[in-house]
Point group: C2
Chain length 114, copies 2
């Protein structure tokens, strides 16, 4: 077969589907940060920050660069590219107008039972 319909990786989503990890990712959007910075800005205890970063790291959302004592975490591009592609496979869904008249007409269309 040739045309694959994009299948989104579950682990990426579940990594993101947790409030603190989501916040971490949003923080890292503005650039790499150390564990301490992340914990500080989010009001997390350091161990929890490390644990969340491990989850993000294992799922490939984030990568780490070791600088002596510090670990500098930054976002990886692949998961976001993958999400982008996946979401784009729902173009036709997103393009739906929410103009009320349009919607009303569409409703009438659907009333005909095939």
């Amino acid at each position: 077969m040739s045309g694959k319909s994009p299948g989104m990786d579950i682990t990426t989503l579940s990594a993101l589907a947790e409030p603190n990890r989501m916040k971490i990712v949003q923080l890292l959007r503005d650039g790499p940060l150390t564990v301490g910075e992340i914990a500080g800005r989010l009001g997390l205890h350091q161990p929890q920050a490390s644990k969340h970063l491990k989850v993000l790291s294992d799922s490939g959302v984030v990568e780490v660069r070791i600088d002596a004592n510090r670990r500098i975490y930054k976002l990886r591009s692949e998961p976001f590219q993958a999400m982008d592609i996946w979401v784009q496979s729902f173009r036709h869904i997103m393009e739906q107008r929410f103009d009320n008249l349009d919607n009303y007409l569409r409703e009438l269309q659907n009333k005909e039972k095939p």
Copy 2:
């Protein structure tokens, strides 16, 4: 304040971060379906299908149209639009080239300690 940096809704993501629900959503990408059809195509027992659809419905990923005995489920556009906007806020991350030479040069850049 005026410019909000897109904050993705966690419930949407956790609804999607489950294998069977992800499969359901991929099915619905090709059009609305009844509970029975979904359960059938995915090899799920009907109650589990209903439960997953409830989660998807509560999170706003899906909406239902009642037709006598049947419930016809279809994707809603909003969550995907939201995801699209959110992912787009990571443009600069996604634009990273994975061309090796490029990457090598970028590495050298990063070696300078500010």
